[in-house]
């Protein structure tokens, strides 16, 4: 049944993928956010120093006798010294006219911070201005202080590494948690699955174990379905039993009456008619029984209820059971079985197969004949040999087919299902049924269980 079941991606995989995907997304987001924040903080630090430096440069500008005088405070540049030996630039403008430093350092803006390429490096530029007011002069001084970002890059790289490490750690932890969470979530489902799968073919009792809330509707449906199935199985079993009873009881009555009448009737034609009637009853009841048995065997063959058995013991049981029938014709049932002939099989099916082959042997065996029942332990096989007419050679292959009967079966009551049943049972156990005629006469049926 599993073969025809269409499956989609497993729940476990789906859940794991969703959780790990989510964790990866969160880890990347975390990395980006923390890193952006760190960049911002680091930039802030550089900017603060640049601003301080700029302020001291601007403060150094004074108006003396109407002329601008800047006593450049070199100390203000030394505060920009970094371990990475970042280069520092400055530029001073008076009324937007370049006065000193590196021309072109100032950007387009009047004030504030900007990041630009300058002199082959990326620099952070702080620009500010101040208005100096004298007696009759009023001039505007603008200064820019810039610093390359080597130290900042080093710091940022360090921070990025740390954050990446942190993000990876977070991700790995999340993966572990995902696996654990998935396993925990899936476990009740697996427990339920294995509990249902472990059941015997006849166990249709409801699932009693506690299941998670989400699974309750499914398990509830399953339980209701099994209850319905059990009910309908019971009903059909009861029906078959009842039907068999209803049919067989009147047949038994008719048969008994016919037999009793036969004891009283002397006219040959009446006697022949009564005998024919009895045989017809036997034929029909036998056919009905064999059909039911065959149906049951077909049903059970799909899922054998295996037990550790001994073919010899099983055989002796059937021989005991059939001994009174053999006695009626003074037939000797000779059992030759080793002490142990173990087989893992379905006892009910095997009993049925044995009964059918022994029954056949008894039917075709002449009065006061011998039926040999031989069990070989390895390879495991059971052979039944009678001393009857044997199989018609040209029909051997087709005899195990349903309703096939040998042409020499004329006059012997049978349904044509006995060998079919035996063959189906043996094949359900992975073996084979062999038919042949014994060189010294009589039919030989072998149930061979070695595959």
């Amino acid at each position: 049944m599993t073969d025809s079941l269409r499956t989609t991606i497993s729940l476990r995989r789906r859940l794991t993928i969703a959780l790990i995907g989510g964790a990866a997304f969160l880890a990347v987001l975390l990395y980006l956010v923390v890193r952006a924040y760190a960049v911002q903080i680091a930039q802030q630090g550089q900017d603060d120093i640049l601003r301080a430096s700029l302020t001291s440069v601007l403060d150094a500008a004074v108006l003396r006798d109407g002329a601008l005088e800047v006593d450049f405070p070199y100390a203000s540049l030394s505060m920009l010294t970094t371990p990475a030996d970042d280069r520092v630039f400055y530029a001073i403008y008076r009324n937007d006219r370049f006065v000193s430093g590196y021309d072109g350092l100032r950007g387009d803006g009047d004030a504030g911070f900007s990041t630009r390429d300058f002199a082959g490096a990326t620099v952070r530029v702080a620009t500010g201005s101040r208005t100096l007011v004298g007696a009759d002069v009023r001039l505007r001084i603008t200064a820019s202080v810039a610093q390359t970002q080597d130290a900042l890059s080093v710091t940022l790289a360090g921070i990025s590494r740390t954050v990446a490490l942190f993000g990876t750690g977070f991700f790995l932890l999340a993966v572990l948690l995902s696996v654990w969470a998935t396993a925990t979530t899936i476990r009740p489902l697996q427990t339920l699955t294995s509990a249902v799968a472990r059941r015997g073919p006849k166990d249709l009792s409801p699932v009693r174990r506690a299941v998670p809330l989400e699974m309750a509707p499914l398990v509830g449906s399953l339980n209701r379905f099994m209850a319905r199935l059990e009910q309908s199985l019971t009903r059909s079993e009861d029906f078959i039993a009842e039907a068999a009873h209803r049919v067989r009881t009147p047949l038994a009555t008719v048969r008994s009456h016919a037999e009793a009448t036969l004891q009283r009737v002397d006219r040959q034609e009446n006697r022949l008619a009564l005998r024919a009637m009895i045989r017809a009853i036997d034929e029909s009841s036998r056919a009905a029984g064999q059909l039911l048995d065959h149906a049951m065997i077909t049903f059970r063959a799909d899922h054998l209820e295996r037990e550790q058995l001994d073919i010899g013991a099983l055989l002796r049981e059937q021989v005991d059971r059939l001994a009174p029938v053999a006695e009626m014709k003074d037939i000797e049932l000779r059992v030759d079985a080793p002490a142990a002939a173990p087989l893992s099989g379905d006892p009910i099916l095997l009993q049925n197969a044995l009964r059918n082959v022994i029954d056949n042997a008894l039917k075709y065996s002449p009065t006061e004949g011998v039926v040999d029942l031989h069990v070989a332990a390895s390879p495991l096989a059971l052979t039944v040999r009678d001393r009857g007419p044997g199989f018609p050679e040209d029909q051997i292959a087709e005899l195990p087919q349903r309703f096939a009967r040998g042409r020499n079966a004329e006059g012997i009551i049978g349904s044509g299902l006995g060998l079919t049943i035996a063959q189906d049972v043996v094949e359900a156990h992975g073996g084979r049924l062999h038919l042949r005629n014994h060189p010294e006469g009589g039919a030989c049926v072998t149930l061979s269980f070695s595959s």
Partner: protein, 222 residues
């Protein structure tokens, strides 16, 4: 032998009883479980024939109660069910054997005989004719103190004749009783068995006489 037949179908019960009577057995018939319990309590039986489906319950319940109550009378179940597992279940419940309806009376007889023989030690009917003793249940014939091994058909033939000594049995009747319906046998087949029995009984007080055109009869001296 006293048999208790528990069977709700009166016609079938009548036919079985008639046949059993022919063999010299006494049969009490119960149609319900209640009747059966009453019979079983009141009398001693050598064998119980039990139908499974009865109007007031399941025959298996009777079997279970019977076995639980230390009843050791052998039980043969008459079942109309044919499920193999069901038959096996009967034996597990303590039935000694079972036959599936419709059954061959000869087979039922054979099974009764086998069960009674296995339970030897219960009441035993041993017939005595002068120097011949015959125990039909055990299948033992002694002629002048010497045990004779009988084949099953010889045994049944002797049993038939010995149950009604002095009565003439036609060949036809004997064929009906000795051979099953799927055997095509001529009446002459009976002669073979008569011949064998005569050989066994040679020199004893028992004789099988031929009555030409009528049949055979068992006679004994003294």
């Amino acid at each position: 032998m006293r048999f208790l037949l528990i069977e709700d179908n009166a016609e079938l019960a009548g036919a079985i009883s008639a046949r059993m009577n022919l063999d010299g057995h006494v049969v009490d018939h119960a149609g319900t479980l209640a009747e059966a319990s009453a019979f079983a309590e009141a009398g001693e039986y050598d064998l119980i024939l039990l139908d499974v489906m009865l109007p007031d319950g399941d025959g298996r319940d009777f079997l279970r109660r019977h076995r639980a109550g230390q009843g050791d009378t052998p039980v043969i179940v008459l079942t109309a069910r044919s499920q193999v597992s069901d038959r096996v279940g009967m034996l597990d419940l303590g039935a000694d054997d079972y036959v599936t309806k419709p059954f061959d009376h000869a087979e039922l007889e054979a099974r009764c005989r086998a069960v009674l023989r296995r339970r030897a030690g219960t009441s035993r009917t041993v017939l005595r004719f002068g120097d011949v003793t015959f125990d039909a249940v055990a299948g033992q014939l002694t002629v002048a103190g010497r045990a004779v091994a009988l084949r099953n058909r010889e045994l049944r033939l002797l049993e038939l004749l010995a149950n009604a000594p002095g009565r003439i049995f036609s060949k036809q009747k004997l064929v009906d009783r000795l051979f099953s319906y799927d055997e095509d046998v001529s009446e002459n087949a009976v002669e073979v068995y008569i011949g064998r029995l005569r050989k066994h009984l040679d020199g004893s007080d028992l004789r099988i006489t031929t009555h030409r055109g009528i049949g055979y009869r068992l006679d004994h001296d003294g």
